[in-house]
Symmetry: C2
Subunit: 275 residues, 2 copies
């Protein structure tokens, strides 16, 4: 079964929200846990326990686990396994991108059946879309997915992403087009895109793209669910909005976390917290 069909089935069942697991210092404070690995574990596993039946996917942010060395990675493994056992998909936000056998090793790390095998990962394309091929190959072979950064949520990304390739396409557009072509060839839509939900306009033409777009930047970064609906209106892609701090700041109570999810889903316009 392909990643895209598993994701589509899950979205049909529970809706399309992705919740980021970002145990950063402010979140640890909001949960009243220590600024240590035990605190990270409480946030990561507590979020999974509270929300696994309400979300399509969790998106753990690798950086906040890597920060604690091998012990942090062990906690991330626990978090990933708990989420998958509870039925949620896991999109690990690692933004990897390399070449040849190195890219192959990243693919085997995250898109295989090792201790950190997940459903999908994010990929960064500075070394070229084609350099990512080992990950795309393994994703398709193993029923996993990838999300290639196209247009990120942050303002500093525009200069490169809205620039032009040597062959004259828009940079982000060339990635959209290559992802669409790959999905047409494979027929299984394993290659998703990351497009931030903070923009007033997409900046790319998504008309040929029918797989999943992961949309971060909602909440703390200023994007809103209503804005995302407008931004992607009329596209054929499966839109997966991703919210992290807006929810995690609700703290350690499962009831509060679930209310925060409901608020994101139904309030339409999200409050922008001070950072």
């Amino acid at each position: 079964m392909t990643y895209f069909s598993r994701l589509s089935a899950r979205v049909a069942e529970v809706g399309s929200l992705c919740v980021g697991i970002d145990p950063h210092p402010g979140v640890l404070d909001a949960w009243a846990v220590g600024q240590d690995l035990a605190g990270v574990e409480k946030v990561a596993l507590g979020t999974v326990d509270a929300l696994a039946d309400k979300v399509a996917a969790f998106k753990p942010q690798s950086a906040f686990f890597e920060q604690w060395g091998s012990g942090g990675i062990a906690v991330l493994e626990k978090c990933v396994n708990a989420a998958r056992q509870a039925g949620a998909l896991v999109i690990l936000d690692v933004k990897r991108g390399d070449i040849g056998s190195t890219m192959d090793a990243y693919a085997r790390a995250y898109l295989g059946d090792g201790p950190m095998g997940v459903d999908a990962i994010t990929l960064s394309p500075y070394l070229g879309f084609d350099a990512l091929r080992p990950a795309l190959d393994l994703a398709e072979a193993n029923g996993r997915g990838v999300y290639v950064l196209a247009r990120t949520s942050n303002p500093e990304g525009a200069d490169i992403q809205l620039g032009h390739t040597a062959s004259g396409s828009g940079v982000a557009q060339s990635l959209v087009d290559q992802a669409a072509r790959r999905n047409q060839l494979s027929g299984d839509n394993a290659v998703g895109l990351v497009i931030g939900g903070t923009h007033a306009s997409l900046g790319v033409d998504l008309s040929g793209f029918q797989a999943c777009v992961l949309v971060p930047g909602i909440g703390a970064q200023g994007g809103t669910m209503a804005g995302v609906e407008t931004l992607f209106a009329g596209t054929a892609a499966l839109i997966l909005p991703s919210v992290s701090r807006e929810i995690l700041y609700a703290g350690s109570s499962a009831v509060s976390l679930r209310e925060a999810v409901d608020k994101v889903l139904w309030a339409r316009t999200i409050h922008r917290p001070s950072r």
Copy 2:
């Protein structure tokens, strides 16, 4: 003491070679160790033991450790600590790049005093040079360094890297210029660049850049030490050529590994092995 001054002192002492630690399947076979974590540890620690006095820096490739989950990261921690205790610098090849507090967490993971603190890391700039600022700030504060991917060694990188930014500069050139400007402002040259040694011409103007350029792609990818000398002739940068498989394929004997280093340093033109 700044990273650049520590690196310069080390290069003056032992020369400018960087040896990559890439325990990939072919290398494990060449060492006659298992395709398992014990094999990875033997290659990683064996390379450090054999070569620490002969190289300016080791460049472990994170992917080959991440592949084994938290156990692999624990081996990477051992490798990093062994190399630094033996006096070599460690440039961890992680190619991270993210935004805001996530970038900050990556910086603290690798450029602080945690279990995986190293001397320098590689960074990938698809989200914009300015998005990398938390890593640059921490590198300068802690006497560490970063190497921003500018023009990578692989052919698939050219389309984006030799394209143009939205503001009209060459993409790779804009990164060179921003790195140079940052180094001029800080005065401590913490921001290096990655430029592959496989190219017939640089494709960027390095005349304003005086920090370190890490040059992978020598050996298995077809670059030669003689080619690197020609490529960077006349630049004011500190050139740090990086060789991995060409050396690691010599196998587990310390004598063979040391001879392989000498061959790279003195043979000038490197044999291109079949892959």
